[in-house]
Amino acid sequence: MTDDSLLEVRNLKKYYPIKKGLLNRTVGEARAVDGISFDVHRGETLGLVGESGCGKSTAAEAIVRLEEVTAGEVIFNGGDRAGAARDENGVHPNDVTKFDKQELKEFRRGAQMIFQDPSSSFDPRMKIGSSIAELLQIHGMSDRHRRRAIVEDLLERVGLSATDFDRFPHEFSGGQKQRIALARALVLNPDLVVADEPVSALDVSIQAEVLDLINDLQEEFGLSLLFISHDMSVIREICDRVAVMYLGKIVEIGSTEEIFSNPQHPYTEALLSSIPMPDPRREKEGIELKGTVPDPVNPPSGCRFHTRCHKVVQPDDVDIEQEQWRGVLNFRDRAAAGTIDVDGIRQTLIAENDGGTAVSDDAVRQDLRAEFDLPNTIADPDIESAVTDAIDQVMAGEDEAAATTLADAFTTPCEETEPEFTDHGDGHQSACIRHNDQRQSADLAAKSEAD
């Protein structure tokens, strides 16, 4: 544990119960945030990035305790809390998740939040000045004139004018409202600001303005910032370090420069390659992520990204083309989910044949293989025979049997082992089993070079 960490998040979990039926019994849990750890150092900006549904906003809300956490620690060393140490039971006195009401109120002074939609985060019937001054009042500043003076000063510092104090939220544009939200977050002089997609609702031209302002204010006030966004280009602009989240887990964390120039986790690579670049001459290949984020109620085992990963690892005794391997696994997963649409394929083929004529089973088999990017014969005989059997079973409508056939024949190390973090130096870490086992990653490197 370093002295300069303002915020230490340790193994934070937030599960939402899924309730069903008359008795409202809990039948499962959505694991929105499933054990994440990171630090925010004093004066730095940490970005949390990921697709929607990956749990980044939940993480933010759990950290400022707008949501009660399921497990884990959030240690906040702001205010006059620095330097505290754990007691003999291992409980940290600065653990936000265990704060009582009084401590929580104090904590809220030191940690503020900015939300995505500036229009829904202000009371439409309250002057914006009063909205900001209310915080001062709650925290014990009883002098009305002093409150007004402070707020007016702050409004000017975020690029508005003191006379805006008496105006109402609807009189401002989105960008201006976000400036007011900034003023509100800063009025208590916090150490930490958690900003949840603060510029996503704004136009590009205004985005740049607000980001610039955030940067300036951060310097001026010596703030630490936890910045949540799905927009990689915004993250790149403003963050010192970045944590990439996927389905409730952090898959990679490191300095912004490292993450962007030298991404280690396949998910980070895919995410970076999906950013549309404002350069019409750029090669438009990129890695396309198929499908969507899996259901957090029933997340994939092992590495959670393995169901969509383009670099999913082959077992030691298998050596086929990566694309085919991905196809074989997709075929298996779809069979297991029972979502292979043989009838649909048949109908499509009939339609292409101008209707009427029956389609041979072989044609359907071909199409099925084509759908999963499988060649007519897979180089590995064991897999080939399993796939052939499974296709027959799928054609006969026995999806379950097909799933079993395939599951028995092969598996990927990615779904069996949960990857550990590997250090790539300078605090750049990623959780991918390709790096866990050095021998294997050396193998892989050799393999991909040979390709």
């Binding site: 590009v204 031209s205 980001l211 549309p276 019409p280 969507t292």
Partner: protein, 348 residues
């Protein structure tokens, strides 16, 4: 300009709305065209009138309070002067729309299959079972897995990206010649956005349709556009091919937009000020009040006439008039900017 007749040709399109505060001119006499099989991007900040412009094309703006004037020639016929009953045959059939928020565009009380079939049967006399088969086919085409089962699902059972795919499937029922896509990926994640853009590109090749694409995201524009029309406060500021606009932006507004892009340009200060009041636009160039190069001539009269600066590239700025030195507004910082630092992940 090529000799062949464009698919869609918009001339002097003006859309006004009567409001309590006076007449609001959202689109003020703009021209543009879309040729067969090409993608034209309409770019600008929110409030610049790009959405109203596309909605005026098929007259789906509410009238009143709206008034649409001008000419919209689609395949030789003027959409604005034809009776509503004629226009209905074209909407959703020859010209299809997809919108920003698929959840608002789908009816949550009906299954998606039903809605696609309905869209089909409005224009074509197809028996139910055939329509169903075709709808499943389309769902499959736009990448909905297990289409024959998903046919019976309701919109809430689909994710945002899937709903947008359903909308695209619905737009394709009439095999349209022109697809108008109004910020179709703005509400989606980057990864899903990449999927949808790829899908649109593939479908365009397959169906040979023209696409009029509205967006404020220049990254998306660079990815899909053939030609670009830059709008500001209801007027066209600049138009040209995608390479010209990105590599030689001529209008100070376009340059300012490019400068706003994270990772591009020197400053990230944004464009100071905001859009002019649409009920009372300034004289002269609409952008003059925010333009760092503005001179006296910029602030009098009408929006400057567009000056052709070669290769289908035209700009509405006084500096390109005879007697002015256009190098004043020529952008030096950006000519180097085309080689934006490589951001793609290192290859394996």
């Amino acid at each position: 300009m090529s000799a062949e007749e464009p698919l869609l040709s918009v001339e002097n399109l003006t859309t006004r709305f009567d409001t309590d505060a006076g007449t609001l001119t959202a689109v003020d006499g703009i021209d543009f065209d879309v040729r067969e099989g090409e993608t034209v991007c309409l770019v600008g900040e929110s409030g610049s009138g790009k959405t109203v412009a596309t909605e005026s094309v098929t007259r789906i703006v509410k009238e009143p309070p709206g008034h649409v004037e001008g000419e919209v020639i689609f395949r030789g016929r003027d959409l604005l002067s034809m009776p509503e009953s004629e226009l209905r045959k074209i909407r959703g059939h020859n010209i299809a729309h997809i919108f920003q928020n698929p959840q608002d565009a789908l009816n949550h009380c009906f299954t998606v299959g039903w809605q696609i079939v309905e869209a089909m049967q409005v224009h074509q006399d197809v028996p139910d079972d055939e329509a169903r088969a075709k709808a499943i086919d389309l769902l499959d085409e736009v990448g909905i897995a297990n289409a024959s089962e998903r046919f019976e699902d309701y919109p809430h059972e689909f994710s945002g990206g899937q709903k947008q795919r359903v909308m695209i499937a619905m737009a394709l029922v009439g095999n349209p010649d022109l697809l108008i896509a109004d910020e179709p990926t703005t509400a989606l994640d980057v990864t899903v956005q990449a999927q949808i853009l790829k899908l649109l590109g593939r479908l365009q090749d397959e169906y040979g349709m023209g696409i009029l694409f509205v967006t404020h995201d220049l990254g998306v524009v660079a990815e899909i556009a053939d030609r670009i029309v830059v709008m500001y406060a209801g007027k066209v500021m600049e138009r040209g091919g995608v390479y010209d606009i990105f590599e030689r932006p001529a209008h100070p507004y376009t340059q300012a937009l490019m400068q706003c892009l994270p990772g591009r340009g020197e400053t990230t200060t944004g464009i100071t000020g905001s859009l002019p009041d649409p009920t009372n636009p300034p004289d002269g160039c609409r952008f003059a009040p925010r333009c760092e190069h503005a001179v006296q001539d910029c602030q009098v009269g009408e929006q400057p006439d567009e000056v052709d600066i070669g290769d289908d590239h035209a700009v509405s700025c006084v500096y390109y008039r005879p007697g002015y030195d256009s190098s004043v507004v020529a952008d030096d910082t950006l000519s180097a900017g085309t080689t934006t630092d490589e951001e793609g992940p290192a290859d394996d």
